[in-house]
């Protein structure tokens, strides 16, 4: 990695990295295997957001999610020579990420639960209830608030359904890729994604008819589309 301060500030890709933008992931990792660090920069640029999005929705804690995203990318770099093109590169990366997430969640579940004298509601207990939004119709639903609601809803999907669901919805892996990442049978992948979708729909159902929220979603989508156009 070789990022200058200016490059980081303004987010403009360096010329060398721009050359790599059309290169396939599988070819990039071969370049990394041959010691080309610029290729790794391109991999980081392509995967950091997708990985973070997946991991955050699994572990819920943003700083832990960043740490695990970094750990995944570091493992990709250090073990680059172990990658063989028998699987898609994205499958390999998300297998690393999924294993890290599972280990972390297992560690967490082993930790004893302490009872606080002033119990604060856990994330799971935060009601996914748009009633608060409706109580004050003049209040604009902000993106962060919307994201918090969606994350709270996602977190309520049981882990075994959530992993294939997020790999499909957030990271757009195919059923076959999800099968490779999770080690599940193809039919199980399909049914778990279906059940997770159904559960997610139940959880967000009260929000779906909220006009403010839909308006905010349209604004977000318009901004994202404009940003994409600017990039091109």
């Amino acid at each position: 990695m070789n990022l200058s301060l200016d490059e980081h500030r303004y987010g403009s890709p360096s010329p060398a990295r721009a050359d790599l933008q059309d290169v396939r992931d599988e070819e990039l990792i071969v370049l990394v295997q041959n010691g080309q660090k610029r290729a790794f920069d391109e991999i980081v640029a392509r995967y950091k957001g997708r990985l973070f999005s997946f991991i955050l929705r699994m572990v819920k804690d943003p700083s832990l999610a960043e740490e695990l995203t970094q750990e995944t990318l570091i493992r990709v770099y250090i073990h680059a020579t172990k990658y063989r093109e028998i699987a898609k590169f994205s499958t390999w990366v998300f297998t690393i990420a999924t294993n890290l997430v599972r280990n972390k969640m297992r560690q967490r579940s082993r930790r004893p639960h302490l009872i606080s004298l002033n119990p604060a509601p856990e994330d799971d207990e935060i009601p996914v209830d748009p009633a608060d939004q409706e109580a004050d119709p003049t209040r604009e639903v902000q993106r962060e608030e919307l994201a918090a609601l969606i994350n709270a809803a996602t977190a309520k999907i049981p882990e075994k359904y959530r992993i294939p669901f997020l790999l499909r919805e957030v990271d757009q892996l195919s059923y076959e890729e999800i099968q490779q990442v999770t080690g599940l049978k193809l039919g199980t992948v399909r049914s778990r994604i279906n059940r997770a979708r159904s559960r997610f729909r139940q959880l967000i159902k009260p929000m779906l008819r909220n006009e403010d929220l839909l308006e905010e979603l349209e604004k977000i989508e318009a901004r994202a589309a404009a940003e994409k156009d600017n990039e091109h």
Binding site: Q70, E169, R197, L217, E221
Partner: protein
């Protein structure tokens, strides 16, 4: 309505992922034409997907800097692990067994050697004292039955030195031979020196990156503070 809603909703999920065979897709469409509940289900799933895509979380500003720092540390650790394999706890466990085996062998050899020297002393008055033991202390041992000799005038190692080992082991090979060329102690090679240099370079790079990160964080904080201060009079610029 041939298809049940439960089945239709399962197919809807697969259709969203473009993984539904064409013939089943046709049946599903016919079901949807006739079923308002399943049409609503489809709209909700699509909206759910849009919501997930629209609320993708953003990484913190200094993510890449911290990644670079951690990567440098990880490389340093990997180089150190390769150079100092004994730091690996798994290697330690193996080493314990190996060392135990070595210690047991040496102990057994020592006991056998001692038995060779002292063994006859246990047989009081047997008359089978080896001819090699002539010291008075050995005689005491013979006479005292199970007592060990406290003083043996002849060093047990002397025989070994006399029989081939020309110098103490602790001196190593530096005195051996007449070639005069330096012989590196066991365990050293050119490659490992290079490894040490790599580790050193990585440490220097690491410190540099840590400094850069710290400067960058200071810059971000200053910028934020400027922004906070600038809020109240920022609009004045438009008046000129």
């Amino acid at each position: 309505m041939n298809m049940r809603c439960g089945k239709a909703q399962e197919y809807l999920s697969r259709a969203m992922d473009e993984a539904l065979p064409a013939d089943v897709a046709g049946k599903l469409e016919r079901h949807l034409d006739a079923c308002a509940e399943c049409r609503e289900y489809r709209e909700d799933l699509q909206l759910g997907r849009r919501l997930l895509a629209g609320t993708e979380p953003a990484l913190s500003e200094n993510f890449e800097w911290r990644l670079q720092l951690r990567l440098s540390q990880a490389m340093q650790q990997a180089a150190a692990d390769a150079y100092y394999p004994w730091d690996d706890p798994r290697a330690d466990r193996k080493a314990w067994f190996r060392n135990f085996g070595t210690a047991a062998s040496v102990g057994l050899a020592a006991v056998l050697a001692l038995a060779m020297f002292v063994g006859p002393a246990g047989r009081t008055g047997s008359g089978s004292v080896p001819a090699t033991v002539h010291s008075s202390a050995a005689q005491v041992a013979v006479e005292g039955g199970d007592r060990l000799p406290l003083d043996i005038t002849r060093s047990p190692g002397a025989g070994l030195i006399g029989s081939g080992l020309q110098h103490p082991v602790s001196v190593g090979n530096l005195q051996a031979g007449n070639s005069g060329a330096f012989q590196a102690p066991r365990g050293w090679s050119g490659e490992r020196i290079e490894d040490l240099l790599t580790i050193q370079q990585l440490r220097v790079e690491n410190r540099k990156l840590a400094n850069q990160l710290s400067q960058y964080e200071q810059w971000v904080n200053q910028y934020r503070a400027q922004l906070d201060r600038a809020d109240s009079n920022a609009l004045d610029l438009g008046e000129e």
